[in-house]
């Protein structure tokens, strides 16, 4: 094994932290300390380089960087810092990034202690046998109480925290301690450079010049430029054109990547769909007998229609979606038409956060004005004639008379919470049609609850509801658990007697009435008064179950004379006309875009 001694100097690790507990700042400091990035090139939060990530303080995509650190023992170590996303929508991606590491730095705020979100990811890391290195940050704050936080780490997570470095990432205090702990406590990788190649894909992105760049952790074997590779799950084969390491700012070529190393592969890959996160890269000539464990084909779970506010922007929207898809294999889209909204796309997302991010990026980066329909999950319908349909667009939901069985997707949800909130979480899950499975105490104060929940009850706002009922302490993750027969109905919204297809959705029969009432109220508040009174109705199978009315407009006049200033009057009228252009004409009713959005946010 002596030729494998290079592995002794490698440390592959990630950072787990609650939002705002200083993950990105610590990453910046580590980069500085290792002089990977020259001071003048330093910009805040170098790893979160998407504008949206910096703003929301979340990491959306995994990212990795290779650093060199000269330790106190005189040796120079290779650090591979792998940044992970931190939201339940991206749980699978998190688990794959963690799988590329041997250790995780757990950053805890010295004044706030452990937060729920951190806990869930820490458990994931422990499950993957990662060595946890606790670090207590923000010790410069007057409210810091590091000793209590240490104790909390020991009791809640059950790992020793005696030696946890007390640092301030912001002030640059004790960062070196963190580096030394990584050297000391994170195990060096294991693996056989001579074995058949097994490389784990933990991320990929599209580069305009090189095609798809795949980020991998080599588990076994060695990969060289010119090798022909195969993606074991998709079967796609490519010739490696270029490989190497991820520098902080640029890619650094290398001749080969060996077991234990983290790096990139470029192989003239055109579609990111060929490089699925979690897949195993092997050599065509000397393939591994089986892929790495844990691969899952990630399917979109939430669907919604995205339409350009201005119909003429349809091709712009298509181009933008294509570009986003280059870097986001979990985004799917196909053209669809709506009577109300015209031409647009039915898009599939991992979850609601993913959906919001895509929408925001389309609006910001591509300058598009969008109208989005209510998100829907996929329903499985067995028709009376035996045909099976998967419906991701409520508009296509068959007539009840043609349905033999309607099934909805279910998830197994694990909810982590301080025990004080068990009652209110149970209430919440009850409201969301959950079935309680069991509950286990992680320690005196921490509880893990297991529920079976319908996916359509959690996609909208479950995370927010959970947070608000537990002061932000609870977190959850879930996995899909198949379809279950359910009493589903399609709820239609009628404006002035005409169904607005873009507002239809599928809902459990028991909830139809309350949802219908809420939507009708929301629409009433969001549709401006027009010359005619506008009846708003919600109907299930032709039966009206809720009704509101937008009263006819009574005042819209420029009374004053303005001393013969006719131009001013004309301008005011023209401005009004402009405003109308931003509305959707649905039959005889003008509906502002906000009305479509408001329906999405029913629980506010």
């Amino acid at each position: 094994m002596s030729e494998n001694s290079y592995m002794q100097e490698i440390r592959n690790f990630c950072i787990i932290a609650h939002i705002d507990h200083g993950k990105s700042t610590l990453a910046d400091r580590i980069l500085e300390q290792t002089e990977t990035v020259a001071q003048r090139e330093m910009e805040e939060q170098i790893l979160d380089n998407m504008e949206l990530e910096r703003e929301r303080g979340i990491t959306i995509k995994a990212r990795a960087v290779r650093l060199k650190y000269k330790a106190d023992d005189g040796e120079t170590y290779i650090f591979n810092l792998i940044d992970t996303p931190g939201h339940v929508d991206f749980n699978y991606e998190v688990s794959r990034s963690l799988n590329a590491c041997e250790g995780a730095i757990l950053v805890v705020d010295a004044s706030q202690g452990i937060e729920a979100q951190t806990l869930a990811n820490t458990y994931l890391a422990i499950e993957q046998d990662l060595e946890i290195v606790p670090v207590i940050n923000k010790i410069d704050l007057p409210s810091a109480h590091p000793e209590e936080v240490k104790e909390e780490i020991e009791t809640v997570i059950g790992i020793p925290a005696d030696e946890a470095p007390l640092i301030s990432a912001k002030m640059g205090i004790n960062i070196k301690d963190v580096m030394e702990q990584i050297v000391k406590n994170v195990p060096s990788p294991k693996g056989d450079p001579e074995a058949p190649l097994k490389a784990l894909i933990f991320d990929s992105y599209y580069d305009a010049y090189k095609g798809v760049i795949v980020n991998v952790r080599i588990k076994d074997g060695t990969l060289k430029v010119g090798d022909r590779i195969r993606m074991m799950a998709t079967g796609a084969e490519f010739d490696v054109v270029d490989l190497g390491y991820m520098g902080a700012k640029t890619l650094e070529n290398a001749k080969e990547l060996r077991a234990g190393e983290v790096g990139y592969i470029a192989a003239s890959i055109k579609s990111i769909g060929d490089t699925k996160v979690g897949d195993t890269v092997t050599l065509v000539d000397n393939p591994a007998s089986e892929p790495l464990e844990g691969y899952r084909n990630v399917n979109p779970m939430v669907f919604s229609g995205i339409y350009p506010a201005d119909g003429a922007k349809y091709t712009d929207l298509r181009d933008a979606l294509e570009k986003l898809q280059l870097n986001d294999a979990s985004l799917t889209f196909e053209p669809e038409t709506s009577i109300a909204l015209g031409f647009g796309f039915r898009c599939g997302f991992l979850g609601l956060l993913h959906m919001e991010i895509i929408q925001e990026r389309l609006e910001r980066e591509y300058n598009l004005d969008l109208v989005t329909t209510a998100p829907s999950v996929v329903y499985k319908i067995t028709k009376t004639d035996g045909e099976t349909l998967f419906i991701d667009n409520p508009t296509n939901y068959p007539d009840p008379s043609e349905i033999e069985v309607a099934e909805e997707p279910m998830v197994k949800a694990n909810i982590y919470t301080p025990s004080d909130y068990v009652g209110s979480i149970m209430d919440l899950c009850q409201e969301r049609r959950g079935t309680f499975k069991d509950m286990k105490y992680l320690d005196l104060n921490r509880v893990e609850l297991h529920y079976d929940l319908p996916l359509n009850e959690i996609v909208y706002d479950f995370f927010d509801a959970l947070k608000s009922r537990t002061k932000g302490y609870a977190s959850y993750d879930y996995e899909m658990s198949g379809f279950t027969p359910s009493k589903l109905v399609k709820l239609d919204i009628l404006l002035n007697g005409e169904i607005v297809d873009a507002l239809s959705f599928v809902v459990h029969a028991d909830k139809a009435y309350s949802r219908a009432r809420k939507i009708a109220e929301k629409l009433k508040d969001n549709i401006p008064r027009q010359l005619f009174e506008v009846p708003i109705q919600a109907a299930v199978g032709g039966k009206i179950i809720a009704r509101e009315t937008v009263k006819a407009m009574r005042k819209d006049v420029l009374a004053k004379c303005y001393g013969g200033d006719i131009t001013r009057k004309k301008k005011l009228l023209e401005k009004q006309k402009e405003g109308k252009k931003r509305m959707r004409q649905l039959g005889s009713v003008e509906v502002p875009q906000e009305a479509f959005m408001a329906v999405l946010k029913l629980d506010e």
Partner: protein
């Protein structure tokens, strides 16, 4: 005549604090400009003159000299109006104005309820209003107009009724009723004034139209009511797309098929030989503009003119009307006219009809 003793907190018209010296220079500038326009076209004859903006009656002496200058160019039956604030109106002023040809006076009465006048920041009370109007009648004015404001803080259906009774008991021949609108940049805009809601405003307006009609004040424009024959001929020019020349800062003109305005700067106006104007629109007078203006009038939009001047047929207009509830307009072979309910939503209705 942009001078006031004090600025009302809802007003966004251009005005400066009254000062005699400036007022004299100002009237000299006005006269210079009149001479300028006459030198361009010596055949100009004015059939209406309107001294408005600010509190013109403060400058009654100067107005008398302006009238001297103008009189050779005024038609026999011309309508010559001055705007007045009840506080600043003296017998001497009224008599001089009358003898110099001014024959119509418009008082900013606003309300007959003192609490509301106070809320509006007006410097007169209801009694001063009565005195001023009677003084004008005594001075020989028989064409007197009063303004009513709808939507004043504290105003109720009953108090509005009181105001209408107050107005109609005075010797007025014309009443304008405007809705209080919060203009940005005014003290009211920052004072969080609570305005009536849409329905309350609508009710105020419709009540006003009805009550005034009962007292013989017939509606002839969205905000204007008059006893038969006392419609303001000057204001009608605006709505009938006829020409007018405005002199003074912030004054607007429609002349030689251009619309133009003077900057809101009294010093510039006084020092300039001829007022500097900015064209706001060239070659105006298309169908949209004409329809927008005509639909403000009770006489409405006549199909013959629409078709002859703009090539827009009755059928085209009729077709648009399908998007408009019936109670908002009246239509026959000759014209389409908005009802009071229609006036209330005239922006939306005009938007539909001019979308041709």
């Amino acid at each position: 005549m942009p001078f006031c003793l004090s600025k009302c907190p809802y007003c966004d018209f251009y005005s400066v604090k009254y000062n005699e010296e400036t007022a004299i220079m100002y009237s000299q500038a006005v006269i210079r400009n009149i001479r300028h326009y006459l030198s361009m076209d010596s055949s100009l004859k004015f059939d209406t003159v309107y001294f408005g903006g600010g509190t013109p009656v403060l400058l009654w002496k100067e107005i008398c000299s302006i009238m001297n200058e103008l009189s050779p160019h005024i038609t026999d039956s011309a309508e010559i109006t001055i705007e007045a604030n009840p506080c600043c109106t003296t017998k001497e002023a009224l008599c001089s104005l009358k003898s110099n040809g001014v024959n119509r006076i418009s008082f900013g009465l606003q309300s007959g309820v003192d609490k509301e006048l106070k809320a509006l920041g007006r410097i007169h009370d209801s009694l001063t209003g009565i005195k001023a109007v009677n003084l004008a009648a005594d001075a020989g004015f028989y064409n007197i107009s009063g303004d009513i404001m709808l939507g004043i803080p504290y105003q109720t259906k009953d108090s509005l009724n009181d105001t209408i009774s107050y107005m109609t008991s005075l010797p007025l021949s014309h009443i304008s009723a405007y809705m209080l609108k919060i203009e940005s940049g005014t003290p009211f805009a920052s004072a969080e004034i609570k305005l009536p809601d849409e329905d309350e405003y609508a009710d105020f307006y419709l009540d006003t139209v009805k009550s005034l009609d009962e007292k013989g004040f017939i509606q002839y424009e969205i905000s204007n009511f008059a006893k038969r024959g006392f419609e303001s001929r000057h204001n009608l020019k605006y709505w009938r797309c006829e020409e007018y020349i405005g002199i003074g800062p912030a004054a607007h003109s429609y002349y030689n098929s251009n619309r133009f305005a003077v900057n809101r700067d009294i010093d510039a106006f006084i020092t300039a030989d001829i007022q500097q104007t900015v064209i706001t629109e060239r070659e105006c007078g298309n169908f949209s503009e004409w329809a927008m203006l005509k639909l403000r009038l009770s006489e409405g939009l006549d199909f013959e003119t629409a078709s002859k001047r703009f090539g827009v047929t009755r059928d085209e207009i009729l077709n648009k009307c399908r998007l408009i509830p019936n109670k908002l307009y009246e239509i026959d072979d000759k014209s389409i006219r908005l009802t009071p309910e229609g006036f209330l939503v005239s922006n939306a209705v005009i938007g539909i009809i001019t979308d041709i």
